[in-house]
Amino acid sequence: MATPSNIVATERRGIPSASFVEDVQTYLTQLGLDVNSALAFLQESWIEQQKENPKIFAVCLVRNFCRLQQYKMVEMKLLAQQRDLQAKIPDIEKCLDVVATLQAKKGTGEALIADFEMSEGIYSRARIEDADSVCLWLGANVMLEYSCEEATTLLEKNLENAKASLEVLVADLQFLRDQVTITQVTIARVYNWDVHQRRIRQSASPSDSISAAAASDAGLTDLKPPCYTPYLAAQKLA
């Protein structure tokens, strides 16, 4: 279980997958080519490309950040769905219980006496004689009468569906969390790579003023929360 899977689905039920970046340099160059071809730029010289690098780096970070926001939205939606399902399942189980009790009583022939809530704090007694059929609330102001067996079948089917959906949802959430992790790692590594590059550039030619650095520095200091330190350390060790 410690080996990562090498087979990554390109997307899962509408959630785009984040591909893991093996080498930051090639990733940025590729991104640079994409961006530049989109802008119909002709990058002839390598120096030109180096000057463009800060811009590409900023574009890449922005893209990944947007991806991250998208993932967060999807996660909120999935969590809400999960909460709904988790509330629905005990409900269905309760209904199944009641129907089962009614069926059991039907056999004995005696009536079932029950206290039920009429209103908040007010209860009333009901006497339920031989129950041949039950009415089930299907939603959308619709209630249907079923025989006890049919009702049991329907409720059991609903319960199965709800449980299956919940499982799929949980798997989706796990997949989503993985993609979020990958995206966060990519952001951290691209940022580190840029810092690294800048250091090299400054040591190589101290006269070069890197004015475009303003774009990348602004508002990115919050990209190094504690969870990224392993990745920073890995870069140093690499």
Binding site: A2, A114, R177
Partner: protein, 118 residues
């Protein structure tokens, strides 16, 4: 060079495991609470002298003879006990996985990594 992809893989799994462990612990808490409720209910049952007990089924309270209520509560207790056991097993498995991953990561990074939950 440290294989970043492998490290990412283990860290990704680790993060997933932590969250899974949290949710399993939360579930276990709820199940334990339900068990406690059953204990209280059966105690109350022993103390009462009424013959017919109002037993909650779904949203209504059905009038049920005492013995039946007793057997029902016992049944429900058994189910929750089994659930609890299953959850405990799952938790053990996840914690073992996490410990293994931690070992690997500490081995690679020694001091430059912090995996404790604050």
């Amino acid at each position: 060079m440290v294989s970043v992809r492998h490290m990412h893989g283990t860290l990704g799994l680790g993060k997933r495991d932590v969250e899974h462990a949290d949710s399993v612990t939360a579930e276990g808490g709820i199940v334990a609470e339900t068990n406690e409720n059953f204990e209280d209910a059966s105690n109350e049952l022993i103390l009462t002298d009424e013959e017919v007990v109002r037993f909650q089924i779904g949203e209504v309270f059905a009038h049920v003879p005492r013995e039946e209520v007793e057997s029902r509560i016992d049944q429900m207790k058994e189910t929750t006990d089994r659930n609890l056991e299953k959850l405990e097993q799952e938790k053990e498995m996840i914690l073992a996985q996490m410990a293994e991953l931690k070992k690997i990561l500490y081995g690679k990074f020694k001091d430059s990594i912090n995996l404790e939950e604050d």
